[in-house]
Amino acid sequence: MLLEINPLVLPDIGLVFWNTVAFLILLIVLGKFAWKPILKSIRERETGIADAIASAEKVKAEMAGLVNENEALMVKAREERALMIKEAKEASDKMIATAKDKAKSEYDRIVAEAQHAILQQKNAALTDVKNQVGSLVIEVATKVLGRELANKADQENYIQQLAEAVKLN
């Protein structure tokens, strides 16, 4: 029965033997000296590439962060500048205001002093006038007394005239 099998499907023991030997040699030698180093190198390269891509992404993200930071800094700087300008303006306004106030008070003081001086002069002048009026009165009285009351009506007119003259002063 077994002998009737087509020789094509009847395995030769010699080929099986040598094939086993050949395959084991191939498996052991290539497994140790080829497949493992090759696969290891490929894996290392792959992880290397993956790492490189990851770090590139990281750097990109960091760059984006830096740009954001820069922008934030710019905004902050702008704000600070605006604040500084505002403060400077306020300070200058304040200075101007104080200077104005000071000038006004000085002016007021000068005016007051001037008025005071004027008043004093006026008073002095008035005193002088009064003194002069007094001496005039005395002079007039002397004159009037010198005419010795000749006419009562004339005398009263005259007094009236004198009195008016005094008022004008």
Partner: protein
């Protein structure tokens, strides 16, 4: 230009395919009377015997036919009851390539390609021949050694290239040619079928893949370094299938055996019913691997040889006008088959390994 070339190509494919269809019908129609003719008339008139010619080309041989009358004799290694014996296969044939008796420890003669021990009366000594252990370096064994040497040279060189170029440089030359194939076996075969444990089985799968691939390719080369039908030999495919069987069953875990002998989640009667079926499955898997590769490669060789034999059947050179383009067409398909069968063998091996080491999470989830 490109479009024209494309349409011509598809036209050729269609024509050849149609021819094959028609042709196969005719062959089927005339199949039955032919062998009788070949057997009766063919032998009587010393005529051309197609079956014999084709089988001679497919079978293993003790010498390596180079062309014409030139043959490369190969060492014959025999182990008999009388001990080990080594001699050249040139002693087994005369100058006309007809088998003759060689007298060593016993009388040896080639009968239908196999070495038999002859009795004193000139007939085969069946009893002694049965105990004869033939471990000769035949054509297939020599080709096998050649492929092993080629694979060792190529992949040790590639491994050295990886060492030299380092991991930061791109692969070059032979290395860059082999890397996609290695990656294909890793990412297309091992990873999806085996899972996270794939790395342990990579050397095995790569060795099997490349050994089958190079033997398939060398089998398609019709002249000297090729020409042997190694991957279409049942002994070769059987050895590899046995290797797969051993690897699968040695790496199998408890779950795998449990699923074979006592299928979980079934009624006990079903379990009893399934156990023998699953047990047969353990053996049919490697057997299917063995037969698939053997049958595919042998069928391809028979097809090409049959087409070439048409010239000798019709006894006219005009037949080559049809036979040669067809042989070339089938040869191109065989190139595809050579790669495909290496891939399928490796993929199914990986799948069987994956099934054997699979962890069944859905069960542990219950507990």
């Amino acid at each position: 230009m490109g479009m024209a070339a494309k349409s011509i190509k598809s036209l050729l494919v269609v024509t050849f395919s149609l021819f094959i269809l028609l042709f196969s019908n005719r062959i089927q129609a005339s199949e039955h009377p032919q062998p009788e003719q070949a057997n009766t008339e063919g032998h009587a008139k010393g005529d051309f015997n197609v079956t014999k010619t084709i089988l001679e080309h497919i079978k293993d041989d003790h010498s390596w036919h180079l062309g014409g009358h030139l043959s490369l004799p190969l060492p014959v290694i025999l182990y008999t009851e009388k001990g080990l014996e080594v001699f050249s296969s040139a002693h087994l044939v005369d100058e006309h390539h007809e088998p003759i008796v060689y007298s060593g420890n016993s009388n040896y003669k080639l009968v239908e390609g196999k070495i038999k021990i002859m009795g004193d009366d000139g007939s085969i000594n069946t009893k002694a021949s049965g105990k004869l252990l033939d471990i000769s370096i035949t054509k297939n064994v020599a080709t096998l050694f050649l492929t092993v040497i080629i694979l060792l040279l190529v992949f040790l060189k590639v491994a050295a290239a990886y060492k030299n170029t380092g991991t930061t440089n791109a692969p070059k030359g032979l290395q860059s040619f082999m890397e996609p194939i290695i990656l294909f076996v890793r990412d297309g075969v091992a990873k999806p079928n085996i899972g996270h444990m794939y790395e342990r089985y990579m050397p095995f799968l790569l060795s099997i893949f490349f050994l089958i691939l190079i033997n398939n390719f060398l089998g398609l080369v019709p002249f000297f370094p090729g020409g042997a039908n190694v991957s279409g030999n049942i002994a070769f495919t059987m050895t590899l299938a046995v290797c797969v069987f051993v690897v699968v069953n040695l790496s199998a875990n408890k779950n795998y055996w449990q699923h074979i002998f006592w299928m979980p989640g079934m009624h006990w009667t079903m379990k009893l019913f399934l156990a023998p079926i699953e047990l047969i499955g353990v053996f049919t898997k490697p057997i299917s691997l063995m037969i698939r590769l053997f049958a595919n490669i042998t069928a391809g060789h028979i097809l090409v040889l049959s087409l070439i034999c048409l010239i000798f059947i019709f006894k006219t050179v005009v037949a080559s006008a049809i036979a040669v383009p067809f042989a070339v067409f089938i040869g191109l398909i065989e190139l595809l088959v050579a790669f495909l069968q290496a891939y399928i063998f490796t993929m199914l091996s990986a799948m069987y390994i994956g099934m054997a080491i699979e962890e069944h999470h859905h069960e542990t989830a219950h507990h």
